[in-house]
Symmetry: D2
Subunit: 384 residues, 4 copies
Amino acid sequence: VRTGVWLVGARGSVAVSSLVGALAVRASLAEPVGCVTELPALRSPAVPGLSDLTFGGHDVAVLRLVKKAEALAAGGVLPPPIVGLVAAELAEVESALRPAPTGRTQAEAAHRTIADLTEFRHDHRLDEVVVVNVSSTEPAAVAHGAHADLAALQAALETTETVLPASSLYAYAAFSAGCGYVEFTPSTGPRLPALAQLAEQAGVTYAGCDGKTGETLLKSVLAPMFAMRNLRVQSWSGINLLGGGDGANLVQPGSNAAKVASKQRLLQEVLGYQPEGNTRIDYVPDIGDLKTAWDLVTFSGFLGTRMRLEFTWHGCDSALAAPLVLDLARLTAAAHAAGARGPIPELGFFFKDPLGPGPHALADQWTRLCDLVAGWGAADALGA
Amino acid sequence: VRTGVWLVGARGSVAVSSLVGALAVRASLAEPVGCVTELPALRSPAVPGLSDLTFGGHDVAVLRLVKKAEALAAGGVLPPPIVGLVAAELAEVESALRPAPTGRTQAEAAHRTIADLTEFRHDHRLDEVVVVNVSSTEPAAVAHGAHADLAALQAALETTETVLPASSLYAYAAFSAGCGYVEFTPSTGPRLPALAQLAEQAGVTYAGCDGKTGETLLKSVLAPMFAMRNLRVQSWSGINLLGGGDGANLVQPGSNAAKVASKQRLLQEVLGYQPEGNTRIDYVPDIGDLKTAWDLVTFSGFLGTRMRLEFTWHGCDSALAAPLVLDLARLTAAAHAAGARGPIPELGFFFKDPLGPGPHALADQWTRLCDLVAGWGAADALGA
Amino acid sequence: VRTGVWLVGARGSVAVSSLVGALAVRASLAEPVGCVTELPALRSPAVPGLSDLTFGGHDVAVLRLVKKAEALAAGGVLPPPIVGLVAAELAEVESALRPAPTGRTQAEAAHRTIADLTEFRHDHRLDEVVVVNVSSTEPAAVAHGAHADLAALQAALETTETVLPASSLYAYAAFSAGCGYVEFTPSTGPRLPALAQLAEQAGVTYAGCDGKTGETLLKSVLAPMFAMRNLRVQSWSGINLLGGGDGANLVQPGSNAAKVASKQRLLQEVLGYQPEGNTRIDYVPDIGDLKTAWDLVTFSGFLGTRMRLEFTWHGCDSALAAPLVLDLARLTAAAHAAGARGPIPELGFFFKDPLGPGPHALADQWTRLCDLVAGWGAADALGA
Amino acid sequence: VRTGVWLVGARGSVAVSSLVGALAVRASLAEPVGCVTELPALRSPAVPGLSDLTFGGHDVAVLRLVKKAEALAAGGVLPPPIVGLVAAELAEVESALRPAPTGRTQAEAAHRTIADLTEFRHDHRLDEVVVVNVSSTEPAAVAHGAHADLAALQAALETTETVLPASSLYAYAAFSAGCGYVEFTPSTGPRLPALAQLAEQAGVTYAGCDGKTGETLLKSVLAPMFAMRNLRVQSWSGINLLGGGDGANLVQPGSNAAKVASKQRLLQEVLGYQPEGNTRIDYVPDIGDLKTAWDLVTFSGFLGTRMRLEFTWHGCDSALAAPLVLDLARLTAAAHAAGARGPIPELGFFFKDPLGPGPHALADQWTRLCDLVAGWGAADALGA
């Protein structure tokens, strides 16, 4: 299955890390560490291989991919020798990138996006195309009456109003072009009734939201631990210190609130009650791409004894997110090829704020993911 | 099902915390926080309730239970008001305790233990009796030829030699008396071929070893997290600072080595490779019952990016262990009543070093435990 | 020197901890751990002893001291047996407490406060009286033209306007009654030009502001360490989780901002530049009186190598503040007796935001404090 | 003052970091971050500048300096561009390095060392030469009767016995050649009565032992904080995880014990009592040069309230040590030029285990250091 991966925010840290990594692993320059679909439990002929992927994308930025990769290497996010070795392949991807389309109306911008996607699919003779949003987090979206209904939405897009946030306009265009969509950021993306209608009409699949790469990943194994041991979590407080581009964006109060809310939902879901405490996000430029999260959990045990758990996570967001972007593109394409339509709740394993119903404990999400892929394998075996 | 719980080390911190807790929950003075069998997923008519339990036990110590409970309350392990409210019930348990039996030969000591257990069963008209070892950790046992065969063992026990470590002699006596056995410490207990033979002959069940209450509990959810995300754990190092009686015992090099080894095995099992690093145990009397464990995990992600996780766990071992002692007695009795014989690998959820084959990831152990209990429920439903 | 200590907020956690501690140490029931004036380097005949102190105070709360002490004991802040043993002495202090005075105008409230202080001094034949503010933190004060000049202030206080925040009105009354004043909170207190004039006229001394008990105490030794080693602090970020009454108060944005600003000033003073980063304060009721502060310091060394320091402080604010309240009352009284007038910058050792010029590194503050007390000793020796 | 710096272990991580740094700062390619002698408080015409230094040294290793520097750059300890820019200057230092001398007797080895030092001094027309030992830590030295007396030592060195550990043989040679000596490692070095006699005869100065770069540096500010606040430190426990060459060496039990002992002495000295707890050292190769130290301090305050401080230090030992090596060479040369003879206790600021009497609190050590340098300044001013 020839699969196209269209990156929105293609010149950003996450996208470029995904590209360099995919090219390096393809060339046997690196092992696919961090790629979930490369684990034995998820290996399946139904999932396109890394070498089946073709990349393209949009960005408002203009810095060349090789230059961005070199900057990431200087910052310790990518290994300098590998960047050098994949420079030629990066330049090839460069030629498939397009400037982010704009228009007098949002409909016009959408049509240009659709045209780019269609051209990409045609030029590279792709069987499946998946759009992955890895651009910066948007401020919380402003509600609009046209969000509830597809026809109303289509009419509103023809006006000069800003009806949809950028992420949702991308989902709109992706669906209209028959492409899958993955919302890797906490932005609204496909989470509007009108877009659900469109996805259904177009027979496409989508997944989201907000890649789970750090503190929430830990919460998704630690909160179930407390639950399985019947220990009472009294409070869960934390702070995230970010220095990268995402951090700069998150100091804008609207974005911050969106991200914090998605981080707190898991505890209620897993524990069945909401402990005290908040998660703060602070921007500290000096920290760079190596995010630091500190959490304090206070809990009580038998007869009320008070205990504590503290953890500190020093994780490189780009390095953690990049392989998941590849996993999600591959799995979304495979799901569509296997007949899936609409949201794919079985991909909740990857997200802070999963679409659709489903468990929040990582191990349960893992089981669901394995079952999904196993289902394809069986189908494949039957077909053979 | 009237169930007897015979505690070896009945006057120690863990045993007394279990007793005070069981009595307090029974009297609705406290909620069963920390009791896994009280979770909805494990509630079953096949599992004896807390009010179906009768307690007895052995100890070489002579401090009265109420005095020990008051000492634990003064140290912050138990809530002082509750100790006062269950004092009368504790005094009743007191009357069922016996001094730890001794003898000229180990056979003689075993026979006295068997007599105590038989009298306990008879006096209280118990349907099931489970012996739970919560005494201090023994030094690593010395191998002996007679460990491999029951007949040889029985002959050797008649000599004046010390053939079995104390924990194994208890398992021998428990099995001979038709009782279940739970090895809650890292000591040898039932882990000898001769004892497996005896358990089979006697038609009894057993479980172990080494209650999972702190650092290893965390490892059993964090190591699978790294595995599921295909992240490479480079090193996992840690230190445990203990101040309680267990700590004093563990500074003896033999005991320490036994405990450390059981802590490291999990990583190999879950990850499929052994990362660098050791776990140290230090005795710091001032820390008292509130154990502190610090771990540093270094791991690498996509393209080799280096990242770190650190955690500190401040847990009260007695408060964490006590409800599990009750859970294990209840589940072991229920398993036997449901027809189980020999080791119960489905109880691996509770142990650092589980007997028999089985997963080491906590979520998988949980699933197995739920399936075990669900099986009984179905049987129960069929019988009705 | 018979010394009166008048506590504003006398029924709060800090005040009651000070009272119980002073009474317990006086009765040889406890050692003066945490009392700086009991260290050999600061022992001086010029400093009144704990048994020279007489206590009184104001509070808007009405909970009896013994009841408050029992509540603190139940929360683990005070040892229950000691509270029982000093109950009679606490009841005696109780009789010297007065309800917080109010009035139609602030002048009227001040006159009632002055009357209470004068009566206290007279009834107990006190040589020195020091008012210590340990009430809750106020929101940042609203500027008022009359703050700049004493005559204008006295005129304005006669109107029905709220001219002074409560802490400053207390300082006004204290100075007018010839008493010393210690601002132990971050509130405005004596930091107004009109009050400086009044203190000069009245010939009294004062000290402040904001007792240094946790994170800032650590900063005052760690920041100098980086400075002395010529290491460059790139960022210093932190979060304070508070559960006690002070925490509830600090979630009000005004108070929070005041406290945070005083915490950040030290770094600029010690390092000579302001590193990146913020200090957050969050209210987590479950944490109770045991405050948790976590800080991350990123710094660079030779040739720019990046390094990190993290610390977590679990401190009981009342237990840390209470002995300092006694120290400050004793030292302020001694300073006045030794002829000091106006602010006492040598007491900067005790404060987050010291009045007057002076070093911010703890060791330098310590040296100044020792010199101050040594100066009195010499005077005393000369006088003898 | 033309000053020679002779590095024992000249091809190791610390030495090469010192060399690259000195050359880079000299060429204005980097700022002297981490160099204590570059702070305003210590700037003095009496202290030789970085450009007054000439380097030489011994090593048993043969890896070229440029290659070692490149390896350090690849490991993140040195910045790759700077290594490239000072390659020519490094090659020049290369030509001043000599293989570590050996001999049939230790006397013979010493004479060859003396010859190398004398040639170095003569070739470069140096006014002062300081030998700095930055080689690997030795196992604890074996006592020998000849250590107590110079004449006996000189006789014993003529035999084929191993009388002195390598570090002490270097001190012997340095003193004999009229050079100063700095013991930067925990090895024995000059700490033998016979060597003190020799230093006196030769009129040379020396300093040591064991550069204070991480956990002990923190202890030297945190322990005084507890002392100044009269808080009782109950326990101080810690673990050091090291991955560099020093770590590999320290797993040898003898070396480890030496280092641990020097780490624990400070607490007794500063606090006046020895708290519970140990410091462990573990070798974890994956951690590389970025050492991680974790410490837990439990302490009690007023009325016995229990509190805790935890810290984690992620420090690059080479980056922390390298500028101090330069500082110590410069200060030792200046001290000698200013007339100092024998040990220089005023350099205790730099060491875990300072020679001679003196304070262990960092701030007090700093004051002594400033006074030392100020004394030279005055002399200089007088001379002018």
